[in-house]
Amino acid sequence: MKKRKERIDRGIKARSEDIFALSSYREMLYLLLPRAIPVVGLLLFTPLLSSYWQEVLISTAVYALLAISWDMLISAGLVSLGQSLFYGIGSYIAGALNHYWGWSPLFTIPAATVAGGLVCTAMLLPVLRLRGIYFAMVTLVLPLMLLRLVEATRILGGTEGLTGLDPFPSQLTALYVIQVALLAGLFGFRRIIGSDYGLIIRAINDNDRAVLSAGLNIHWYKTQVLFLGASVGAFAGAFGTHLDMFAGMPGFALDGLLHHAGCLGRCGRHGHLRRSHAGGFYFGALVRDTSRPWDSEDRFLRALPRRLCGCSPGRPLSLCTAEIPSI
């Protein structure tokens, strides 16, 4: 007798929004494998890669974290045009703790993550109550202002920045730190968005006055989301500081690239691995070394984001990719 093909995805999708009982290993594998394969691949096979690809993956993960940070903010309707603010603040705090007080990266990175989140939240708190484009405007302007402030006052190393900072013990250590942080951020964000708390955040984006009339203080929720997003960005900055052994003005000057990373992050649903990695891959490859002539590896990387972010003939490419510079 010919076996009828059975679709198992609909039943699982209907049940998988909340707690449910899976009835077979097939269903469990259906849910687990798409998530497990890239996670296991990232963690187990990256030590086998060449130094070049490890660098690419590190850059990828840093930008992917910034895309996740952007994603968190946009979930609550906060459009950020300056992830470099969070990156730069985290970078300088980690750099200062290491440079002036000799703290090791083991302590500077967590401290800069939390402190960076608090500082950025405090800076953006006054605009949280305003509706409209003000949050976007302020996130765009603040890093530029801080750039000029550092340049004019020569604090924190001035234009030369803080150099000679402690590095990671090895490139592999740096790779695993950032990959684990990325996976934690990604799956943590998915968990948050899927919970009742995440529902409130999405409802604020949908209709904030309705959430107010439902008895919830939207400003407090926005503040929490801002802190979470800023902390993730600050972590990326703190990590970058010890990766490059340098903290300086370039940390505040990432706006151009990060706009596009944010746009790339919009492809797909919240918390999709491909969405954050699409942006990361694109700019991980571009920023790594644009002075080298493009070879086959780079051509592959240039083509990869389009596939990863699912661009189709009907979907305007301008939404998915930035213009690839010609060399």
Partner: protein
């Protein structure tokens, strides 16, 4: 039953630029009453509700609820005191399924305080609430995204969102607007059931026939002022009310 008024609004005023939207409006509401507020378009009914519920700060006047001055309090705090409202233009969360719309009010501090900590199963409570307001459970309409629901269901959803907050005072702003006679006829029993449960209700309506059937008292606003208050029959015989609705011969 406690005879002191549940809600006292004393000489509330609000102007927007040169327009006096609400002008020295005062009224009292006893527990368990259903007060209807009527008036022509632009008479200040919704602005009055916004002033009471904290969406707009008054220029002058006072709102006292259960002996507590709540004037100018933010909306989420007004809800925590026990006042819930619906909006004239419905405000569902369009991206979410209908039953998920109710999760948001069910997560409010007021509900958490009343229920005592974490809700056991918010989804099940949400589905029960939707069934109470007329969502057919078997038709899976509760699982549809709010953006795909017709106006009648959106109005019911709006009502369910306010009931989910377990308010003592419910303010319904033009709940019947945009609905057919049959839809209105199906919602009226829900409101009557809320009254039997002891809820105090303020209804702003243009559909006078349906309102007069259920309201204890009616208040009429015109150009931001209160022009009449009393039983429905008395109010409709008031000359100023007639002039407000029908105009004058001058």
């Amino acid at each position: 039953m406690n005879q002191s008024p549940m809600l006292t609004v004393h000489e509330l005023s609000k102007s927007f630029g040169g327009v006096q939207a609400v002008n020295l409006v005062s009224f009292e509401l006893k527990e368990g009453e259903l007060l209807g507020i009527i008036g022509p378009n632009g008479s200040g009914k919704t602005t009055l509700v916004n002033l009471v519920t904290g969406f707009v700060r008054p220029d002058s006047g006072r709102v006292v609820y259960k002996g507590k001055n709540i004037t100018g309090q933010p909306p989420y705090r007004v809800v925590s005191f026990g006042i819930a409202r619906t909006f004239q233009m419905v405000r569902p969360f369009y991206q979410l399924p209908a039953f998920k719309n109710l999760i948001v009010p069910l997560c409010s501090p007021r509900v958490k305080k009343l229920v005592g900590g974490k809700y056991g199963d918010r989804d099940a409570v949400a589905l029960d609430l939707l069934e109470e307001v007329g969502f057919e459970r078997d038709a899976y309409v509760s699982y549809k995204v709010a953006s795909s629901l017709p106006q009648g269901y959106l109005k019911r959803l709006e009502l369910a969102k306010s009931i989910a907050l377990r308010p003592d005072l419910l303010i319904l702003d033009e709940l019947f607007s945009g609905l057919s006679l049959a839809e209105v006829a199906s919602i009226v029993p829900i409101i009557e059931k809320l009254r039997i449960q002891g809820k105090t209700i303020i209804m702003i309506e243009h559909r006078l026939k349906e309102l007069f059937r259920i309201a204890d008292r009616v208040m009429v606003l015109n150009y931001g002022r209160k022009v009449a208050e009393g039983l429905a029959q008395e109010v409709m015989e008031n000359e100023e009310v007639k002039k407000a609705y029908l105009g004058s011969e001058e």
